[in-house]
């Protein structure tokens, strides 16, 4: 039996990946589930595993090669199988993404039963998902007419760089012609008017990904915003006591409390634990809360998986581990594409408010600022309380303001009376 190993799609917006290292070489025996290669995406390095046992017959991509998602990069087969049709590493052939047989962290059985699932975020991701969200329009696939594609190829125009003016944003012939002949003259004039000398800053892959995803979110998801002041006095006291008395090797941070509170609130308001994909609201039962982590060259928001079934201490441990692995580029695929809700916390920078942009295809994000002593009125007296501002940004296609308010009140209540977080 011949098993093709293809460049897996680690998230809806991944278009290509680089083979960093082959763990197996021609002639090596491979067991199903064994790690066969390490690949680099625009977000992280991930290991991919074999979905079938056999002999590692051929690598079709060299270490360092960058190939499109779906490209066959290796062949695992029985020693006697004829694999001559696969050619060599210099001519890696484009396979059907739907045939994807390898994907980090994806259970093989499920991937085989539901081939499309392997083409997108890992099959392990929230179980309510009925079909893979590899939607043509959400994943950055270019919508262009056939003649526009032909013309773009002839004139060397990159279709991903131009905007379509046709029906439904389709790139049509006139758009390619405009781009080929210099295009967008107004923009050029704007540049000409720039004051003083200008240097163009090279954008890393991560910057480009952030640009694409955030622009997609702001373009397609109508955000609404709700802000509350959360009295964190009790939460801070509880956290201190817990850290002094737990006897565990991990300290609980303010952020861990917010993650746990959000997870409980999401269980009670599950509509906020949804994806909006292909005009469908897909509500997940597993709660994977992403935390935004600033990196030197950008930002990443991987998920703490299954928060609802983790204790506060487990969340703290998982969060710490996640931050470390995010910084070393060793995240697993489902951690950065299986998230169902996100928390972005700029508290450590002392800011008061953060109004965040939703990470598509998620439908809400909580932005939080620093916990700061503030005068508040309590029982007719002005007292000093530890106050944190929290802002919920939510997708109006999925929920309305009143639902958002109830959800945010739930988080507020859990943090102001934090005992429930310890259960």
């Amino acid at each position: 039996m011949i098993s093709e190993v293809v460049m897996p799609q680690m998230g809806a917006d991944m278009e290509e990946g680089t083979v960093v290292r082959w763990m197996k070489h021609e002639g090596d025996a491979v067991e199903r589930g064994e790690i066969i290669a390490e690949i680099e995406t625009d977000k992280a390095n991930v290991e991919i595993e074999a979905f079938d046992s056999g002999t590692f017959r051929k690598a079709l991509a060299n270490e360092g090669d960058t190939v499109p998602v779906g490209t066959i990069i290796a062949v695992i087969a029985a020693p006697e199988d004829d694999i001559s049709k696969y050619g060599s590493s210099t001519e890696a052939s484009k396979g059907e993404p739907a045939k994807t047989k390898a994907s980090a962290g994806a259970p093989p059985a499920e991937a085989r039963e539901k081939p499309p699932a392997a083409a997108t975020p890992p099959a392990k991701a929230p179980p309510t998902r009925q079909q893979a969200p590899a939607p043509p329009r959400v994943d950055g696939r270019v919508r262009a007419s056939p003649v526009a594609r032909k013309l773009a190829e002839e004139r060397g125009v990159d279709l991903t760089k131009i905007r379509g003016s046709g029906p439904d944003g389709r790139i049509v012939r006139r758009d390619v012609e405009a781009a080929a002949t210099g295009g967008a003259p107004p923009k050029a004039e704007a540049h000409a008017a720039a004051p003083g000398p200008v240097t163009t800053v090279a954008r890393s892959k991560m910057r480009q990904t952030i640009a694409r995803r955030m622009a997609l979110s702001k373009r397609e998801a109508p955000h609404y915003y709700i802000t509350v002041d959360i009295d964190m006095t009790e939460a801070e006291r509880t956290r201190k006591e817990l850290n002094e008395t737990s006897g565990q090797d991990v300290r609980v941070s303010v952020n861990d409390l917010i993650v746990k509170a959000s997870a409980i609130a999401l269980q009670r308001h599950p509509i906020f634990n949804s994806w909006f994909v292909e005009d469908e609201v897909r509500q997940h039962t597993q709660i994977n809360v992403c935390i935004a982590i600033a990196l030197d060259d950008g930002l990443i928001a991987p998920a703490i998986l299954d928060c609802a079934n983790k204790s506060l201490l487990d969340v703290a441990r998982a969060g710490k581990d996640l931050v470390e692995r995010a910084k070393s580029g060793a995240l697993k695929a489902d951690e950065y594409s299986g998230g169902t809700f996100t928390i972005s916390n700029l508290g450590p920078y002392g800011v008061e408010t953060l109004v965040a942009i939703i990470q598509p295809p998620q439908t809400a994000i909580l932005g939080v600022g620093a916990v700061q002593p503030k005068p508040v009125a309590r029982d007719g007296e002005i007292v000093v309380a530890q106050v944190m501002k929290a802002a919920l940004s939510a997708d109006h296609r999925v929920t309305d303001g009143a639902q958002g308010a109830r959800f945010l009140n739930e988080i507020q209540g859990l943090l102001e009376k934090p005992v429930a977080l310890l259960i």
Binding site: S145, P146, V147, A148, R149, K150, G166, P167, R170, V172, R173
Partner: protein, 323 residues
């Protein structure tokens, strides 16, 4: 060039054939003494006699069957089936005999027969008498289907139909009989399988045949007011189909709309759209669109009948959606 009606153009060609070849004869319901339901053969029986212009019983199967037999025996019959609606009674003769005898006899037997029939809706004849089924005949290998739009087409295509040694279905849209156009006095054959670029344009190709060309022309005039230059193709024959002219036009305009009175589902417009996709995929700047008759039996009420037929405004709206 003199101006003739579509009806007069047909009559001119028929008369020439009767005069030129004594093997030519006409047969059909009320074509003789009455002169034909659409008056195409008026005066012919007096001029050529009842043996060459024959009034038949009301039995389409018999009319076509006799025609096939006569053609096999060496005559050149033209049979008239008052309308395409009644041709369904002769469908078996057309499909199982006329279209296949040449093939089944290994080319030993030919059926050089012209079957004329009126087609189309628009005169409040309700659902049983308003069909546009020419696409059905175009589906069948072994018969040719001529769909003239102008009087010029009618004259030239009918002459070519008589030249053909195999059966030709000749479609006459009832709304066209009284329309006028320039037609040469001298005889000419208009080749099958050659579409006419009826109006030149560069922004979109409107593809019509028979009566629907007229809707395309009206739509093109409206579009021109908005600066959209539509090219209008008049197919002239569905079998053989001049796909080359269609593709050449699409290469220029990169957009195509097929217009026909017939029902959309499984219809001939779908065939044209598929051929464009197969042969000019890389030229398309928009999906090929169809404007067809509504998916209902033709209503009797005038407003409903018009609503069920492709209108220029429908075509204009579809074109705007493509640009």
């Amino acid at each position: 060039m003199p101006e003739l009606t579509f009806r007069e153009a047909l009559r001119m060609s028929l008369r020439e054939e009767l005069l030129a070849n004594e093997r030519v004869f006409l047969m059909g319901e009320d074509i003789g003494a009455y002169g034909g339901s659409y008056a195409v053969t008026k005066g012919f029986q007096k001029e050529f006699g009842p043996e060459r212009v024959i009034d038949t019983p009301i039995s389409e199967s018999v009319i076509v069957g006799c025609g096939i037999g006569a053609a096999m025996g060496g005559l050149r019959p033209m049979v008239e089936l008052m309308t395409i609606n009644f041709s369904l009674l002769a469908f078996d003769q057309i499909v199982n005999n006329a279209s296949k005898l040449c093939y089944m006899s290994g080319g030993q037997i030919h059926v050089p027969m012209v079957i004329r029939m009126a087609s189309g809706a628009g005169s409040q004849l309700s659902s049983q008498h308003s069909h546009s089924l020419e696409g059905w005949y175009a589906h069948i290998p072994g018969i040719k289907v001529a769909v003239p739009y102008t009087p010029y087409d009618a004259r030239g295509l009918l002459k070519t139909a008589f030249r053909d040694d195999n059966p030709v279905i000749f479609i006459e849209h009832t709304a066209l009989y009284a329309r006028k156009g320039e037609v040469p006095d001298e005889a000419f054959d208009l080749p099958f399988g050659q579409a006419e670029v009826h109006r030149k344009g560069k922004d979109v190709t409107l593809i019509g045949y028979s009566g629907s060309v007229y809707q395309c022309v009206l739509a093109a005039e409206q579009l021109a007011q908005d600066g959209i230059e539509a090219e209008v193709l008049n197919l002239r024959t569905l079998r053989p189909l001049d796909i080359d002219t269609i593709v050449a036009s699409v290469r220029k305009t990169h957009r195509a709309v097929v217009v026909e009175d017939d029902w959309r589902f499984g219809g001939f417009a779908g065939e044209i759209a598929t051929l464009i996709m197969e042969q000019a995929f890389d030229e398309l700047d928009a999906p090929v669109a169809r404007v067809c008759g509504a998916d209902v039996p033709m209503p009797y009420a005038k407003q409903l009948e018009q609503a069920a037929l492709p209108q220029p405004s429908d075509i204009v709206a579809v074109v705007r959606g493509l640009i």
